[in-house]
Amino acid sequence: MKLHVSQVSYSVGNKVIVDAVDLDVDEGQRLVLLGPNGAGKSTLLRLISGVLSPQSGKITVLGENIRDFSLADRASTVGVLTQRVSLDFPFTAREVVAMGRTPFGRGRTDSPIVEQLINDLDINADQNYLTMSGGERQLVQIARVFAQVWGRGGKAILLMDEPMTALDLKHQVDVIAIMQRLASEGVAQVVVMHDINMAASVADKVVLMSSGQVVASGHAKEMLTPELLEQTFDTPVTASGLPYLKPGS
């Protein structure tokens, strides 16, 4: 078990944000967290990443409590894409991607890993980050996090909070291809998503969350039913068979 979350709770004041959550992710497995806004998905990711400490319960990564990791060990084990990146300096895209290599040296911009990700994701490496669109910036940040876990295989886990939100279809496909490659190398992944159809096509396992609790978890086919989705999102859902287009050939 690469990632094991057991009975983890987290509250701020009287408000319970994450409530006795259990989850497991195996080597190379991809878990997708689905749920309404405010369900506690992002907080759960922050707990797993080690920046927040749970009030009760335990999170182990590669068998060790995440709170016992040194900052350096955490950085070389857990790659995290948050929704909170705020970059207001004119770095080049290449420099931003290279920041992902910081745990393994001094973030040299001439790393072959950086170059390969720039090519695979079709990033304009020398463009000023500040002149990029929201989607382009998102892609650069994703590449930075990929660079961090690249080549680490079973020794790394990858946490991504809504990576696809601002991406166009082609770049979604490119990103999924790299996520698949990382999975085949053994990188366990937890991804927060809002697109249910996208979740269906990429998830090995789906966890439905609502009000800080796990509503249900299991294989995508068993989870993405109108009944469970309605219970999770508190809104009527019908399976129309549409949209029937999904990325990939």
Partner: protein, 331 residues
């Protein structure tokens, strides 16, 4: 092609420009000298009076301008990266205002001896920075720290105002001149004290990659193995040392720590491995240029150098902002 390219050529140009400016500054002044005098100085045939002017009056002043300018500008660059705000200034950590308050305290309740005033100013700069760090340094939010800096700044400056109100005319004149900045008091002993600055400047440069990463956000930096709290403490102490010693020796030099790093980023991008050394070079060059003007424009009288840096730096900065705004709109 990068949107900024040829970083090495630009750095080399800066080094050459700085050396050239140092030579020009040595030769410019009430007694105008030529390159031949430097040749004579080197082979020992220069008359003693001119040698004294060159070696004991102009050279220490030139060196002090370069060292203090380099220290303030590179500290400014580091503070901007740390606060993730290209418009931040070393003054935000309280160091200049604290130095001004303690300099004024010394003048009003002590004497006007320059050494005592410099020591007092330095102590004040370090003390206020420490208070700002205590209030805002432990929290997780960088804005707490920024707001603490603003509040401490306001308190210290109101203290300066109060002291100015109480002071005699002569004391008031000393306080205001100090607040406007001047390299008039430069001698070899002040150059010697200023040698602390290159050490803290180089120590800041060792934080380059951490500063790069922290621009993404505190939490993001942590995910990449950089403790933003430790980085904050380190950079602020080093910046307070650079700026504190500089301000103690020369008074407050306005705008240098804000404009120079900004200019460097426009020319060379944001990588702190380039921005920090380039800011040091350009900061030294700009303060030297401003000081040379300050002692020659109204010769034999001297203008406070802070007036020149603010008078030229202010409008120049507005031009930069407008230019940048236009470019962002175009993109």
């Amino acid at each position: 092609m990068a949107f900024y390219s040829g970083g090495y050529m630009k750095s080399l140009t800066l080094v050459l420009a700085l050396i050239l400016m140092m030579l020009l500054a040595l030769l410019t002044g009430s007694v105008s000298l030529g390159f031949s005098e430097i040749g004579k100085l080197l082979d020992g045939s220069l008359e003693p009076g001119l040698a004294t002017i060159l070696l004991d009056i102009r050279l220490p002043r030139v060196l002090l301008a370069v060292i203090v300018g380099a220290g303030i500008a590179s500290a400014g660059a580091a503070i901007q990266g740390l606060f993730r705000n290209p418009l931040a200034d070393p003054a935000l950590i309280g160091v200049s205002a604290g130095a001004a308050l303690f300099a004024a305290l010394y003048v009003v309740f002590g004497s006007s001896a320059p050494v005592g005033m410099a020591l007092s100013a330095f102590a004040g700069g370090v003390l206020t920075t420490w208070i700002v760090l205590m209030i805002g340094g432990r929290g997780t939010s960088i804005s707490t720290m920024l707001l603490a800096g603003i509040a401490i700044n306001a308190i210290a400056l109101s203290g300066v105002g109060l002291l100015s109100y109480w002071s005699t005319d002569a004391q008031l004149r000393t306080i205001s001149f100090w607040a406007l900045g001047s390299l008039n008091g430069a001698d070899w002993s002040s150059v010697f004290i200023a040698l602390v600055i290159p050490f803290s400047t180089v120590a800041i440069m060792f934080q380059s990659q951490s500063l790069n990463v922290v621009t993404l956000g505190d939490e993001e930096a942590e995910h990449l193995g950089v403790s933003h709290q430790k980085l904050r403490q380190r950079v602020i102490v080093l910046a307070a040392l650079s700026v504190g010693v500089g301000v103690a020796l020369t008074g407050i030099v306005a705008f240098l720590g804000l404009v120079v790093p900004h200019l460097v980023r426009i020319m060379m991008g944001s990588n702190h491995k380039v921005v920090l050394p380039a800011s040091a070079l350009l900061g030294g060059l700009v303060l030297l240029l401003a000081d040379t003007f300050s002692r020659t424009l109204l010769a034999p009288a001297e203008l406070p150098v802070g007036i020149i840096t603010a008078l030229v730096g202010g409008p120049f900065f507005v031009l930069l902002l407008l230019r940048e705004q236009r470019e962002r709109v175009l993109v």
